[in-house]
């Protein structure tokens, strides 16, 4: 009887403790809603891999934070802004989702920003690239983690111009991201003394690039800049090879190329390609260890978007751990206060315009002879300091910075 009483007492004490600890966690659960492209053009660079990455971050916390369980829900937005906005709205309204994560494709990120603003929820953007997300289109709770088009322009654009590629023609994906990328790279090219001869917009997603490639060829530009991503970039590079554009002396500059794209193209086709990356698995012991665990789960090495999703979710959970709350304003303030420190970014800061500033890397694709095996694709040519890649805060046009 005594034992029973003791047990009951300790059980109720435990229950008190648990409820006390999670008093400030709304609904007693921290819920993250991850929206990504599960089956379309961006499913390789983002897609199911980002779900795995977010799960890995949650596992690090043992599935609970500040006494409350962490839940992850995910959905396929098919790269459509309306589907994403509806899903996000529903998650926020009926399923107590506290933060939206990943959000590849700029149009999706912008649509979810609209919902996040109305519901005062956090949006952890990893896959969308457009720099307006932390400029004109910024919201106080929208955090842009992995990269942006400005950083891509600074990295690849200036490197190509420095090698003598001073006249450019753009092949641009016909939506906000493509326009933003073209604009940012054009700025860098012109600042470095290069010229932009013209551009052509292609529908998103596209599979037949022949007519666009012929236009690019006819322009006579030394460099054909691909202001697109994912499957579009792969198809464009393949089309360029078929038309013998590279052999004829024009250079292809992929402005947003991922490790998975190099994997799909093969080293024969991709060798020598310069690309700006936010992350490469084979940089140090930490990245190798994490990437190996990722590889064991997915069978692929992580892209920057996937590693960035891990970092963003981890930092978000860190802030909840530190404050014991999941209130949006408290968490955003804490996330800004703490430096971002993990295998993806070191001593990086989250600025008031929502930009996470960390070092970027200029990489070159190895030739088949240099590569020692599968996934050994890149050599890092240069580390681009965060400030140089993303620009100073004073440059940001975000009204709430």
């Amino acid at each position: 009887m005594k034992l029973f009483k003791k047990l009951a007492a300790s059980a109720s004490a435990l229950a008190l403790l648990a409820s006390g600890a999670s008093a400030e966690i709304s609904d007693g659960v921290v819920k993250i809603g991850l929206l990504t492209d599960m089956s379309g053009t961006y499913s390789d660079v983002a897609g199911p891999g980002t779900v795995t990455a977010a799960e890995m971050a949650i596992e690090e916390f043992g599935g609970t934070v500040a006494g409350a369980p962490i839940e992850l829900v995910s959905a396929d937005h098919q790269n459509k802004a309306d589907i994403a906005a509806n899903k996000a709205r529903q998650w926020g309204d009926t399923e107590n989702v506290d933060a939206f994560a990943e959000l590849v494709t700029t149009s999706v990120a912008m649509a979810v920003f609209e919902v996040a603003k109305q519901q005062n929820k956090i949006a952890l953007v990893s896959g969308a690239a457009s720099s307006p997300l932390t400029n004109d289109a910024c919201i106080p709770t929208g955090l842009h983690w992995t990269y942006n088009t400005r950083a891509m322009g600074v990295g690849t654009g200036s490197a190509v111009v420095a090698e003598g590629g001073d006249s450019w023609f753009f092949l641009t994906a016909d939506y906000a991201f493509g326009e933003s990328l073209q604009k940012d790279v054009s700025k860098v090219v012109e600042a470095a003394g290069g010229k932009v001869l013209g551009s052509v917009k292609h529908p998103f997603p596209a599979s037949d690039f022949s007519s666009f490639m012929l236009q690019a060829q006819a322009s006579g530009a030394k460099v054909i800049g691909l202001a697109n991503a994912g499957g579009d970039t792969i198809n464009a590079i393949k089309a360029a090879k078929e038309f013998g554009i590279v052999d004829a002396g024009q250079k292809i500059a992929g402005l947003l190329v991922f490790l998975s794209d190099v994997h799909a193209l093969g080293l024969d086709t991709a060798q020598g390609l310069q690309m700006t990356v936010s992350f490469y698995w084979d940089m140090n012991d930490e990245t190798r260890e994490w990437s190996k665990r990722f590889f064991d789960k997915t069978g692929k090495m992580p892209t920057g978007i996937q590693a960035g999703t891990y970092s963003a979710v981890r930092h978000y959970l860190k802030a909840i751990e530190a404050t014991g709350s999941d209130d949006t304003d408290i968490i955003v303030a804490k996330m800004r206060e703490m430096p971002v420190e993990d295998m993806f970014a070191h001593n990086a800061v989250l600025r008031t315009d929502g930009r996470m500033v960390h070092d970027m890397y200029l990489a070159e694709v190895k030739s088949p002879a240099e590569s020692s095996g599968p996934w050994d694709y890149l050599k890092i040519v240069r580390t681009i300091p965060g400030e140089e890649a993303f620009g100073p805060l004073s440059e940001s046009t975000c009204p709430t910075k």
């Binding site: 995910s74 802004a81 309306d82 700029t106």
Partner: protein
């Protein structure tokens, strides 16, 4: 008497629904039910398979979005502007399309809708792939704040009920009877002295206008208009909804739309997320092969047989 009672129960259910089910999902359901019913007017009662109704749905969505966002019109006027725009578009496409029948009619509507799609993708006011986002919901009649989901639901319910009543009235009017006669035997209707082109055109424009009303309302609900509204997938989806629910029945398209929307919503975040088109395809094939009259059509036939 019995019928009135049934309708009253349905109305009571519709009024109580937002307190049980997520209102935004209900509003989506209502909008698509209206869209499918409008489509049924031309396919089920007019016998004309239009494969371009997304142009009216999406067009009205864009017109309304633009009117509310850029011109700052009140919500009701914005919806009316979108609906009127869709009606005009319907008149233009209808004038060309009704000169042909069958597959040629379907192809003309498809071609015109694709032209409209490419206009929407390249016109600056639609925002291309990004779509129009952040469309304000505004106030209804200057009194009710529509940013509240339940208030918005009753506003949408009123609009859609109006649409359904108009469709039911049109179908049961002499105009609807003539339309049915044209569907069943065009030559005979012509020999009876009816100007069938005029009837067809009127039905087409009416259908386009109501499809536009659905699209315009949808824009206000979701506060965005996007390319998927105007894409030919949408034209296909509405055919699917109508056939699944029951062609040429008043309630069928609404039932079909409910099934499809509920399925899409339910499957989107489960293990079948990437398989939604496949699941819908299987349902469609099953429906066409085994119960061709659709859910409501089969139900009606069953009741007639048994009672």
């Amino acid at each position: 008497m019995k019928k009135t009672f049934g309708y009253l129960i349905l109305l009571a259910l519709a009024l109580a629904a937002p307190f049980v089910v997520y209102p935004v999902l209900l509003m989506k359901l209502l909008c698509f039910a209206l869209f499918a019913s409008a489509f049924n007017l031309i396919l089920g009662y007019g016998g004309l398979l239009s494969f371009g109704h997304a142009a009216f749905f999406g067009g009205a969505a864009y017109f309304t979005g633009h009117a509310l966002k850029a011109w700052g019109l009140p919500t009701e006027l914005g919806i009316l502007a979108g609906t009127a725009g869709a009606g005009l578009l319907g008149l233009a496409i209808g004038l060309l399309a009704i000169r042909r029948q069958g597959i040629y009619f379907a192809m003309i509507t498809l071609a015109m809708a694709q032209m409209a799609y490419f206009f929407f993708i390249s016109a600056p006011f639609t925002g291309g792939e990004n779509g129009l986002q952040g469309v304000p919901r505004g106030m209804a009649l200057g009194m009710f704040d529509l940013s509240n989901d339940r208030t918005m639901y009753f506003f949408v319910l009123a609009i859609c009920l109006g649409g359904f009543l108009l469709i039911a009235r049109a179908v049961h009017s002499p105009f609807g009877q003539v339309l049915g006669a044209i569907r069943d035997n065009e030559d005979r209707a012509r020999s009876l002295g009816y100007d069938i082109e005029r009837y067809k055109l009127l039905a087409f424009v009416l259908s386009a206008t109501l499809a536009g009303l659905a699209g315009a309302t949808k824009t206000v609900v979701f506060q965005l208009a996007s390319l998927s509204d105007a894409h030919w997938h949408m034209s296909g989806e509405v055919v699917l909804m109508t056939l699944l629910g029951g062609l040429g029945t008043i309630a069928g398209p609404a039932v079909g739309a409910s099934i499809i929307i509920a399925l899409q919503n339910y499957l989107a975040s489960g293990p079948f997320a990437a398989w939604v088109p496949v699941v819908l395809g299987v349902i469609f094939v099953t429906c066409v092969l085994s119960f061709r009259r659709g859910v409501v059509g089969e139900l009606r036939a069953f009741i007639r047989r048994s009672f």
